[in-house]
């Protein structure tokens, strides 16, 4: 039961984080379209790091 609540919390946290990354990257690309590819790569890396954290928590909580 508690692990399900924990899983929900992890997903909320991960969602907020990914939303922040994606939103800021969009802003960055809109301001500087010529830097789009660099911003995308950085965005994917940060997204992956965040994802690793969230998945780690989900699996340890299982």
């Amino acid at each position: 039961m508690y692990n399900l609540i924990g899983a929900g919390l992890v997903v909320i946290g991960g969602g907020i984080g990914l939303g922040q990354i994606g939103g800021k990257a969009m802003e960055g690309i809109a301001r500087q379209p010529e830097a789009a590819s660099k911003i995308q790569t950085a965005m994917i890396i940060i997204g992956a790091l965040l994802e690793g954290l969230a998945f780690g928590a989900l699996i340890l909580g299982k």
């Binding site: 790569t41 890396i45 992956a48 790091l49 994802e51 690793g52 780690g56 989900l58 699996i59």
Partner: protein, 370 residues
């Protein structure tokens, strides 16, 4: 070196071919095996519990390929793979002897039984002494060509064929021919977008073989996982851990003085902070491969789980919406998720290679001395 390389390539290809032909030989022997069912979990898979069990079964490694099962008669259509056990000598026999876990296999006077994908030594009647869910019986060392091993060997052979052809076509001229034309941009992509910017212009060449191998290995295995063959290799935590350990050891063994200095005696901070930071940095050494392991494993496992759950919608929603609507809904959703999984297959290979090169880059970077 130039003379030995093709020889080694052929030797490895030959060994892989022997192994795979071995599997195929036993496959044709037992092709389309048909047998009776008497297990309680069998019969049509029509309840959420049974679907859950089926998905969990799929996510595990297995000793045979099952393409589909006739729900009414319980016949499995597929083929078995060879079992290799080390238990007072070598035991080699076909997994067909297990009859999908319902029969006791006999080999050189020893008896073995399959229980949830694991092989246990038993007596002649196949009695498992259970402790809760886990049998207490002796588990012999299992070196079988399982589904995952077969998938990895297949990927190795495919990569040898593809990249051997690409390498050979450069002897004729600067422009590759055939499939190499599709692969060259990917190789260049790994070099120019992943290795060069992260490792540095002067040092990236040494790590290219590893990065290319790991990129294509993960990508091809991810794509194989989306075929109806039922591979789930990169969704196996042992495989991803092993791949991450490669990165870990490469980072540790190619690291320079500054890397170790940054871990044990962080420059530019007060001495008290150096003492506090050292254990954190040492922990960081191990969390990097750990996160690589978990990321790939969890992504692929989650993808398979979602995909199979959406396919199962046509069974679970049949009562509420009728067969046509539930099948249509499940088909649309699973095609949509399948397309996303195609993207994820590439993205996870990219991320693994990217982060590996990032970690290697952190270890080999030359710092400016002020």
């Amino acid at each position: 070196m130039k003379k030995t390389t093709p020889f080694f390539t052929f030797a490895i290809a030959f060994i892989c071919l022997i192994f795979s032909s071995f599997s195929f030989a036993s496959a044709t022997e037992n092709n389309e095996q048909v047998h009776e069912e008497n297990h309680e979990t069998h019969g049509p898979i029509d309840t959420p519990d049974k679907i859950n069990g089926y998905i969990k079964h799929h996510l595990q490694d297995a000793h045979d390929f099952t393409f589909f099962t006739n729900g009414e008669t319980g016949n499995h259509i597929g083929f078995s793979l060879p079992v290799i056990l080390v238990d007072n000598g070598l035991h080699v026999f076909s997994a067909a002897k297990f009859h999908h876990g319902e029969a006791v296999a006999e080999s050189k006077g020893s008896y073995y039984k399959l229980h949830h994908g694991k092989i246990y030594k038993t007596n002649k009647e196949g009695v498992l002494r259970m402790h809760g869910e886990h049998p207490l019986n002796f588990k012999p060392l299992d070196l079988s060509i399982t589904k995952s091993v077969f998938g990895m060997l297949l990927t190795g052979v495919l990569m040898l064929i593809f990249f051997g052809a690409l390498a050979k076509s450069y002897k004729k001229g600067p422009i590759p021919t055939g499939l190499g034309r599709a692969l060259e941009p990917l190789v260049l992509y790994v070099r120019d977008e992943i290795a060069r910017p992260n490792i540095g212009e002067s040092k990236y060449k040494k790590f290219m073989p590893f990065l290319l191998t790991v990129f294509f290995f993960i990508w091809i295995l991810n794509l194989l996982g989306l075929t109806p063959l039922g591979f789930n290799v990169t969704g196996n935590i042992a495989v991803t851990l092993c791949l991450a350990l490669f990165t870990f050891f490469i980072v540790q063994f190619s690291a320079n003085k500054e890397y170790w200095g940054h871990i044990f005696w962080m420059p530019g901070v007060p001495p008290i902070m150096k003492v506090i930071l050292a254990p954190i940095e040492v922990l960081g050494m191990f969390t990097k491969p750990f996160s690589l392991t978990i990321r790939l494993f969890a992504n692929i496992t989650a993808g398979h789980f979602v995909l199979m759950s959406l396919i199962a919608l046509m069974i679970t929603m049949k009562a509420a919406f009728g067969p046509v609507a539930s099948t249509g809904m499940s088909l649309l959703l699973s095609v949509f998720i399948m397309l996303i999984e195609l993207l994820v297959a590439f993205l996870q290979a990219f991320i693994f290679t990217m982060l590996s090169s990032l970690f290697i880059g952190m270890a080999v970077v030359e710092h400016d001395h002020h």
